[in-house]
């Protein structure tokens, strides 16, 4: 299909979005990720029944924590799409990338960079 999406998005593969725990999202932000999104299967289509629904709840908790710690809730998002929706995948990547570009670098990354300098 040769679909284009931003190359600076790092993909971490997991067997099911339900494998993504709250701490994984927080650790990514702690390590300087400007944004994190979790892509799960369409709701109702989880091979493990509830994996993507759990993932959504964890993303909600992550948003709450990021908001309360001053990092900002918009740096995390949950998306649902099926394995057959390649073009939707590219669209999501572009959409999320655009959002993060607008937000600018994460205050956590800036703090790490300042410390290293």
């Amino acid at each position: 299909m040769r679909l284009q999406y931003p190359t600076h998005i790092h993909i971490i593969k997991v067997p099911c979005s339900g494998r993504v725990d709250l701490i994984h999202i927080l650790m990514a932000v702690e390590q300087g990720a400007d944004g994190v999104f979790v892509a799960g299967c369409l709701e109702g289509d989880c091979h493990y029944m509830h994996g993507n629904l759990f993932a959504r709840k964890r993303v909600e908790r992550a948003k709450e924590i990021l908001e309360k710690t001053g990092v900002g809730k918009d740096r995390v998002e949950m998306y649902n799409l099926s394995a057959g929706q390649g073009s939707r995948w590219a669209e999501i990547c572009r959409e999320f990338d655009e959002r993060i570009m607008k937000l600018g670098p994460s205050p956590i990354r800036l703090a790490h960079e300042k410390k290293a300098a």
């Binding site: 725990d21 709250l22 701490i23 927080l26 650790m27 932000v29 702690e30 709450e64 924590i65 990021l66 309360k68 710690t69 001053g70 990092v71 205050p107 956590i108 703090a111 790490h112």
Partner: protein, 231 residues
């Protein structure tokens, strides 16, 4: 087991914002089971605090750990080095654990990271229900195994009251009437004669009404008892 829930993050941040070496101390006991104060929750809280300090540009060192039980001295001793290194501690054990930690490290500032609620059961994942109020004189033997103290909103010994309707308590249509449950259970057991005679008032001195309680089990103790008489 004891049921607790995480305190709102903003409350915890407010406690610790002026300290910079923080120990988040979890407990592998009850609070791990109700997913409020185990290693997973300690890691999440630790991470959240680091995010807060980092974005606020504050120097910090946040470490997380858990011990087998915070309500036991020998496990609390394992925390010695970490406690020494911390300016402030957030304990996410139940209220008992938090207090015993404080008692054993009297010079340290300890904050609660959870709200402790009650003794209860795990009805489902994320669904905890109160079952026992620790009254110190169990009456389950005469109430069909259903506690009128914890499950009747009025802690009545001779129920149900006039507020019981269609099996629900008058406080809310979502609350089963404890005495309705007892009635049904005694009917199943063929023990309805329980209702023929009212039960005498209970001695509430063994409950919270008698002040903070102490249990001395002479058969379990090694040394001479050090406390006054038990209630």
């Amino acid at each position: 087991m004891i049921k607790a829930t995480p305190k709102p993050l903003e409350e915890i941040i407010d406690f610790v914002k002026d300290y910079n070496k923080i120990l988040v101390a979890g407990c592998d006991g009850c609070v791990t089971v109700c997913e409020a104060g185990g290693m997973k929750e300690a890691k999440v809280l630790g991470s959240a605090l680091r995010l807060y300090y980092t974005q606020a540009g504050k120097d910090h060192e946040v470490v997380e750990t858990t011990i087998t039980r915070q309500c036991d001295k020998e496990y609390l001793e394992e925390l010695k080095d970490m406690m020494e290194n911390a300016d402030a501690v957030v304990s996410i054990a139940c209220g008992c654990g938090i207090q015993y930690l404080t008692e054993n490290y009297p010079k340290k500032v300890v904050f609660p990271g959870v709200d402790t609620h009650f003794m209860g059961i795990n009805a489902d994942r994320g669904l905890f229900e109160e079952r026992c109020a620790g009254c110190g004189q169990c009456v389950l033997g005469t109430t069909g195994g259903i506690c009128p103290i914890a499950r009747c909103s009025k802690r009545m010994l001779n129920g149900p009251c006039g507020g019981s309707e269609a099996g629900k308590c008058e406080i809310s249509k979502d609350t089963p009437c404890g005495w309705h449950l007892i009635y049904e259970r005694l009917e199943t057991l063929g023990q309805m004669n329980r209702f023929l005679e009212p039960v005498d008032p209970k001695n509430w001195r063994s409950s919270r009404d008698g002040g903070p309680r102490v249990i001395i089990r002479e058969d379990l103790r090694k040394a001479e008892p050090q406390h006054g008489s038990a209630h």
